[in-house]
């Protein structure tokens, strides 16, 4: 296999639809409408009696609400979202969690199920033990309990035994818009691996696990599966394909004709992404 090469220029375009793209694309400062009956939402602002766009993206209209969705927005967060995050700081009675949003998110000691799985009053002892539960660098999965009004700071909770610290595995960061909204975020895939698609764009790939039980020791096979899953998710994300469980599985199957490490090649990545995308379009029709 050739390692040294010229830079790969993406030539093929996956998307072919969207002939009428132009009329929906706006750039900052463009007037969206002069009709002030519309209510302005994200990505718009009132300026000189017009509703103007403040970000570059597509105009979105639901009833009387107009908004502009940009491409590279940071994760905003909504109540009920499942997020994967990394503990950045242990503070008094709370942890700070990096979940890819603008401000670090908060996880209160009171909103965590402690070992024993019962909701009980937290004692001083628990406060001293906080580092034992989660320490700096740990990966956790949690749910958004509240979104700050002014600054958009997320408050997380773990009041369910599916949430908590994540065991050995790999974290991949993708843009949060690429995660398809769905009720399920924990996917126990038949290929003997679990994928958690956090709404914030943090994707965790690892073995099957259940709370309070040690995970099975890894085999060569299971490591290869995890590596393959990681690589196909990266390939899909690199080409902007929206992620959900079936497309990941489709891509996984398509990728079987390549060795895992070949999935790092730009051409192979593009091929896998393209084929999976077309496949999923087919299924939807």
């Amino acid at each position: 296999m050739d390692i040294v090469r010229a830079p790969y220029k993406r030539t093929r375009v996956i998307a072919s639809q969207g002939e009428d793209l132009e009329q929906h694309i706006v750039t900052p400062g463009d007037v969206i409408t002069q009709n002030l009956d519309f209510m302005k939402s994200h990505g718009t602002a009132l300026s000189h009696d017009h509703i103007c766009a403040t970000v570059a993206g597509a105009v979105y209209k639901v009833d009387k609400l107009v908004s502009v969705k940009g491409v590279n927005n940071r994760y905003r967060g909504e109540i009920g979202d499942v997020v994967v995050g990394r503990i950045t700081e242990v503070q008094q009675k709370k942890w700070k969690v990096d979940a890819g949003s603008r401000l670090d998110s908060q996880l209160q000691l009171t909103s965590v199920y402690l070992p024993g799985n019962i909701s009980r009053r937290k004692t001083l002892n628990d406060e001293l033990m906080m580092r034992e539960y989660f320490t700096e660098g740990d990966l956790v999965v949690a749910e958004v309990a509240d979104v700050g009004n002014v600054d958009g700071m997320l408050k997380l909770h773990m009041r369910s035994n599916k949430y908590g610290k994540l065991p050995e595995g790999v974290l991949i960061k993708v843009p949060s818009v690429l995660i398809k909204r769905s009720k399920l975020h924990f996917h126990r895939l038949p290929c003997n691996a679990t994928v958690i698609l956090g709404n914030n764009g943090f994707v965790w790939v690892g073995p099957h696990f259940s709370p309070d039980q040690p995970i099975e020791p890894f085999t060569l096979n299971s490591r290869e599966t995890i590596a393959r899953l990681c690589n196909v998710i990266k390939a899909l994300a690199a080409y902007g394909v929206q992620l959900f469980d079936t497309i990941i599985l489709t891509a996984y199957d398509i990728s079987m004709k390549y060795k895992v490490k070949e999935l790092l090649n730009a051409e192979v990545m593009e091929h896998v992404a393209q084929e999976s995308y077309e496949h999923s379009l087919h299924q939807n029709l």
Binding site: I3, V4, R5, L139, L166, P167, A227, L264, N265
Partner: protein, 282 residues
């Protein structure tokens, strides 16, 4: 460069994966990621290149100028390497944050090119004892995604290979000597890069070692050795850095691997650069 923090579980998984010879992205310990190289991308330089390995991206520019010869070494030219890490690699690197890392890369590159044979410096002499060429080599990291040393050394070799030096004609003698640098784009000569080494860095991870680490993997490594490999498969330089200690036997094994990998990359790099320079002249 402690920018990312990993949990104990992730560390354990990464180190065990390397020990099992199947890394988190499916490569084995001796596999490189693809090395994307293009040359002549900076128009205001004599030679330049861009090298991308995974997320790591490095830009090298070579600018030649005429300077006075060194008194002690009257018959050779000079090279001067500087390494700079752009703050675009990470906002933590703005200001002085990147200095340690820049120093480390610079010392490795200087080590590689400290040997007189690496680049035939006598070619750079214009008038013995009077004037010679000075190659100012700027190495600029645009993004950091692990394995900075090797990427810099590949880019440096590619940039030197693409370098074109203008012809100089000498008129007069003594104090009245005048140098005329031709600006004819066809009256140029190229540097001989056949003996330029590349750096292969081997990282120690737990009980085994690996090459071309990603950012996450380098977080977990304890120490590393840089091996300067010549196209012929000879070792021209070596440096051990970082924490950790090495068994002599393990060290021999690592050097062996470095030579194996290094000669292969040399071969590919050479044919790639050759192909690129022929398409450029066409």
């Amino acid at each position: 460069m402690n920018l990312i923090r990993l949990s104990l579980a992730e560390r354990k998984y990464i180190v065990e994966s390397i020990e099992e010879d199947i890394r988190t992205d499916g490569r084995s310990c001796e596999d490189y990621r693809q090395i994307e190289i293009e040359t002549r991308n900076l128009p205001n330089t004599n030679g330049s290149s861009r090298c991308k390995i995974g997320k790591t991206e490095v830009l090298v520019g070579v600018k030649a100028e005429v300077v006075d010869s060194d008194l002690h070494n009257p018959s050779i030219g000079k090279i001067n390497i500087s390494v700079d890490c752009s703050a675009t690699a990470s906002p933590h690197l703005a200001g002085r944050g990147s200095e340690t890392m820049e120093q480390e890369v610079l010392s490795v590159l200087n080590l590689l090119y400290s040997s007189i044979d690496a680049l035939n410096l006598t070619d750079l002499c214009i008038v013995k004892g009077e004037s010679c060429w000075l190659l100012n080599i700027d190495v600029l990291f645009i993004q950091c995604g692990g394995n900075l040393f090797d990427a810099a050394s590949f880019a440096l070799k590619a940039a030197l290979h693409s370098t074109t030096m203008p012809d100089v004609s000498v008129a007069g003698e003594g104090i009245e000597m005048e140098l005329e640098i031709s600006d004819d784009p066809y009256k140029v000569w190229k540097l001989n890069t056949s003996m330029c080494p590349i750096c292969i860095t081997l990282y120690q991870e737990g009980e085994s070692f690996a090459v071309d680490l990603t950012e996450e993997e380098s977080e977990c490594s304890t120490g590393h050795i840089h091996v300067g490999v010549l196209p012929s498969g000879e070792v021209s330089a070596m440096e051990k850095s970082g924490a950790g200690n090495l068994e002599p036997i393990a060290l021999l094994e690592m050097i062996d691997a470095a030579i194996r990998i290094g000669t292969d990359i040399h071969k590919q790099l050479h044919s790639h650069l050759l192909a690129e320079s022929t398409t450029a002249t066409l």
